[in-house]
Every structure is written in C-alpha cells, then in structure tokens.
C-alpha cells in the first residue's frame, strides 16, 4: 500500500474539489502522519508542475486544493456559461425550479439544495423578471425571501402556481428509505 499513498491522496484531492483536502482528515483516512501527508502533497504538487499537467495542486493553510491553471480559464468560463439568446442556463433553470417549488425561499435554502452558490443565478432571474423579493425570513439575519413573479407564470404558460406539476410520487417512500438507512446507521 505504501507506494499507493500518492495515488490515494490524489484521489482525495479530487473528490474534495473546491472544499480542499484537509490535511488532518486525510491523515486519518489514510492512516499516516499529518507531516507525511504534507510531504506527499508537496511532492505531488511539484510533480504536477514538472510534468505540465492540466491541473495544479495548491496549498491553502491546512488544506490542499486541486485547481485549474489560469491560462485555461477562458475555456472554463466559456464552457460554464455558453453564449445564449434568451435561454436560461442550467444553473438559472435549477435555481428557478427550486424557487418555484419551495417559495418563499431564501438564497441560502436554495444553495443548500443545489450544493453550490446561486447568487449569480438569482441575480439573473431577478434581472429577467422571473423571480422577485418577497419580504424577509424570520429569525437571525432576516434573509431575503424570494418568490416567482406573475411573469414566471406567463413564460411557462401556467395559469397559477397550482398548475405546477407534482413530481416525485415516490418521494415519501424514498424519504422512508433514507430514514431507515440513517436510522440503522445510528442504531447499529
């Protein structure tokens, strides 16, 4: 296994993505010293550099991240937001779908569901008149609540929000499945 440590750390670097690989947790997962993890990661970083790999490994305090190279950023941007006329990006559509079904909803709620930041998508949706502010949530912070606009109904040809199709008939059972598995986990 010894010789695979670099491969395992690369694997963990990849899966941790934007969050970065925490040295402490990596050490626990692999079963080696923190210092060893750092040495290995530094070695991997310089190897990536030398071999001119597509990605690079950067240290940020107690964590390491796999990042893309600046020289390719224009392609990343072009891939992420292809030029569009009138159409909504996938990010905007997903955000809109969540707002439509969960409204009124805060940006943070949407981010929790999508698993990524949605500020830009939300701004776009407000800009396109599909989503608007609808007061403030109770509690600390009093975050802005969002809801869909009448224009949203118009664009999607809905006479009212009740017209939104119900989805996931098996939601209930699935939640039960989820519950059972997490319950088992906890009690076994």
């Amino acid at each position: 296994m010894n010789e695979d440590i670099d491969l395992i750390l690369e694997t963990l670097l990849y899966v941790s993505g934007d969050e970065g690989l925490e040295v402490r947790r990596a050490a626990e997962a692999v079963g080696i010293d923190k210092s060893r993890v750092i040495t290995e990661l530094e070695r991997i970083a310089s190897q990536y550099e030398e071999e001119g790999r597509a990605l690079s490994v950067q240290q940020f305090g107690e964590s390491f991240k796999m990042v893309t190279r600046a020289e390719f950023s224009e392609y990343v941007e072009r891939y992420a937001s292809p030029p569009q006329r009138g159409t909504l990006s996938q990010a905007a559509l997903e955000t809109l779908a969540i707002v439509a079904y969960e409204q009124p909803v805060t940006r943070l709620d949407v981010e929790e569901i999508r698993g990524v930041k949605v500020d830009r998508a939300m701004t776009t949706l407000v800009g396109k008149g599909l989503v608007e502010e609808s007061g403030r949530a109770k509690g600390v912070g009093r975050a802005i609540l969002y809801k869909t606009t009448p224009r949203f109904l118009d664009v999607f040809n809905l006479s009212s929000l009740d017209d939104l199709p119900t989805i996931n008939d098996n939601e209930q059972t699935e939640q039960m499945d989820l519950f059972m598995s997490s319950y088992r986990e906890q009690h076994e």
Partner: protein, 256 residues
C-alpha cells in the same frame, strides 16, 4: 411448518413467471419439457397457501393458474379430438405443443432476469467510483442581465432541472460537509414537537411537522418523534392504514 416456509418464500417472487421458474428448478426438469400436471399442482398449492395466509393474491397469479390448468387439460385430451391425424406422445408435441407459448414466455423472462442481475452488479461497481461536485466558476457576468422578453425555456426544462437537482442531492453529492448537516439534532426536534403538542392543546397532524424543508431535517424530525413515542412522552394515533397520523401528549401529561 409448511406454511411458515412458504410465507418466507412468497415475498421473494416477482410474479407468476418467477414462481413457475422456481418450481421448475425445484423439480429439476428442463424448461423445455415441463411436467405440466406436477408443476400445476405445486403452483396451485402456492396459491392456496397465499390465500390461507390471507395474502393478496395478485390477479396475475390467478391468470397463470388458469393458463396452467388449460394447458394441463389440453395435454390430457385424447389425441384424436384435437390433433386427429397426428401421432403424438407426451414428450413429442412438436409445433402443436400447448406448452410452447408458455415456454417462450419463460425463456424471455429468464433472459431479462439475467440482465437484471448484471445491471445490479454494474450498479454496485459504479457505486465505488466517486466524483466531485462541479467547481464554482467565477464568470464575469457572462449571463446577460437584460430584460429579454423571450425566454426559451419550457415547463419540461424546468421540471428536468428540478429533478436533476434532487437526483444529484440524493445520489451523488458527497457528504463532505458532515458537520454542517447536524444543524438539527434529535433532541432539539423532540423539544419542538413536545412544545407544539402542549401548546396546541389538541392533536397535531403528523404531516404538519414536515411541510417543506430539507430531507435531513425531516428525517431528524421523524427520529425525534419515534424517540418521543418510545419514551412514552407522546402518543400517535391513526384511524386506519394510510390515514393521517395525529400526535397527542400522553394522558398523564398536563393537557386540557
């Protein structure tokens, strides 16, 4: 004893074809030469056992039973009635074998069962390959902000987007943020429920505890409820299967 053995097994059948395959295998005979009388008898025993156990016997099982009985009686018919000019033996029905259609059906079904198990294996294999969430990309306002009148997106796009989000949530998002998901604890949810039940001074519908929210939160709520029931702090009442469940405080708890 007999009954018990059956009851365990019944659940594992995916329908009449599945049951038939099991019986054929047990009899150690060839799928192409089914001893219809024997298999039919065993099949009927299963059906009767199901009924004795008051299990709902799906209509498909009964249809198959009548098919089997029809084949059985056809095979018992004197040859001259049906195939007057042909020599036949039980083992050599040729093209006129009344079992033919059933055998073809079993054959096809068997193939798909095999494929289903291969799919299962592939699914397991795939579940050991991990990815990462898509990277956050800082695009410099690429998304146009103007108030376009035409938006080319259909309701179906919207639905797909929604499903996409939830599927990703359910299947693929690695729980790297395990700590954050502990925003709700069972203890705090237990308190929420008891407070609600005591304040309301009447039975609280189970569904009211859910409303909208994260699945994690809902699961936590449910576990809290179970714990409360176990502790005897609240009682859950349900009039009949699938009816709404109501939560009440226990009689000895202060309650008007």
């Amino acid at each position: 004893m007999q009954v018990e053995r059956y009851s365990v097994k019944l659940d594992s059948f995916e329908g009449p074809l599945d049951l038939l395959l099991h019986l054929i295998q047990q009899a150690e005979v060839d799928i192409y030469d089914i001893p219809v009388a024997k298999i039919t008898e065993q099949y009927m025993t299963y059906i009767h056992t199901m009924q004795e156990l008051e299990l709902d016997v799906a209509s498909e099982y009964l249809v198959m039973a009548s098919t089997l009985l029809a084949i059985k009686s056809q095979m018992l018919l004197p040859k001259q009635d049906v195939w007057a000019d042909e020599d036949w033996e039980l083992e050599d029905w040729g093209e006129e074998d009344p079992r033919e259609e059933l055998v073809a059906q079993l054959e096809t079904y068997l193939q798909y069962k095999e494929i289903a198990s291969e799919l299962r294996e592939r699914h397991v294999k795939r579940s050991h390959l991990f990815t990462k969430p898509p990277s956050r990309i800082n695009t410099e306002s690429k998304e146009n902000m103007e108030h376009t009148t035409d938006i080319e997106a259909s309701l179906s796009d919207l639905l797909q987007a929604y499903q996409h989000v939830y599927q990703r949530l359910r299947f693929e998002r690695p729980h790297t943020a395990t700590v954050e998901t502990q925003r709700w604890t069972v203890e705090s949810k237990m308190e929420t429920i008891t407070t609600l039940v005591l304040e309301r001074k009447q039975a609280v519908p189970f569904l009211e505890l859910y409303k909208k929210g994260q699945i994690n939160e809902q699961v936590t709520t449910f576990m809290a409820l179970l714990q409360l029931v176990k502790d005897g702090s609240v009682i859950c009442k349900q009039e009949k299967n699938f009816a709404d469940i109501y939560i009440e405080p226990r009689g000895d708890v202060e309650y008007e």
